[in-house]
Amino acid sequence: MFLLQEDSLEDIINKTTLENPEAGGAVSFEGRVRNINKGKKVTLLEYQVYEEMAVLEGKKVVEEAFKLFPIKDAVCVHRYGQLKIGERAVWILVTSKHRKEAFKACQYIIDEVKNRVPLWKKEFYEDESEAWVECLGCKKGHHHLSP
């Protein structure tokens, strides 16, 4: 399941447990808004989204995780709109029989979301400037190794 939402992720995180008696492992990841990027102090973030495509592409990513890894369940939720420092921008939960597959699938989902899902991030800085975060390295085959 892949979802986009403007509201805080708190409720969905609290309500979604993916309970399954066959699942012995549950791995989650959350990406939070950081207050500094490339030495500049960030005060606010704004995610812009191409909603129709982001939903389709996000669902494809999660479906691929099911095909690649023997997992029981997976959910990924991404926010759009304005986010404050410390807020959760993305949340992933994966369950599997054993922990290894859940770790791998969770890593796959976040990497592919960052690489393919059409969402863009504008940072607003303390000095009142603003800029789109455009990772030109992604196009050259580099993948983000950290959130």
Binding site: Y50, M53, L56, V113, P118, W132, E134
Partner: protein
């Protein structure tokens, strides 16, 4: 005349100063040709190497021909997560 819907996002939206527009074409055109024409008009600061193409919400090649009725989006480097 046939038409293509172009949607703009991120820095391309800032450069075009609009969310979307309808482009009229009288013969099929490659996505790359359309980007070059729009780049001349709006002066996108991004090189084509860093941009991907989406047609009807699916990633496609720059050589894909559009002959009207499609939604075309040039995807600047994404930054989710």
């Amino acid at each position: 005349m046939k038409s293509i819907k172009i949607k703009y996002f991120s820095s391309l939206r800032d450069a075009a100063k609009k969310d979307q527009e309808i482009l009229s074409i009288d013969s099929p055109k490659k996505a790359s040709q359309i980007f070059d024409e729009l780049n001349e008009r709006y002066h996108f600061h991004l090189d084509k190497t860093y941009v991907k193409v989406a047609i009807n919400e699916t990633y496609r090649d720059w050589d894909t021909l559009l002959d009207g009725g499609e939604t075309l989006v040039f995807i600047p480097p994404v930054a989710g997560g």
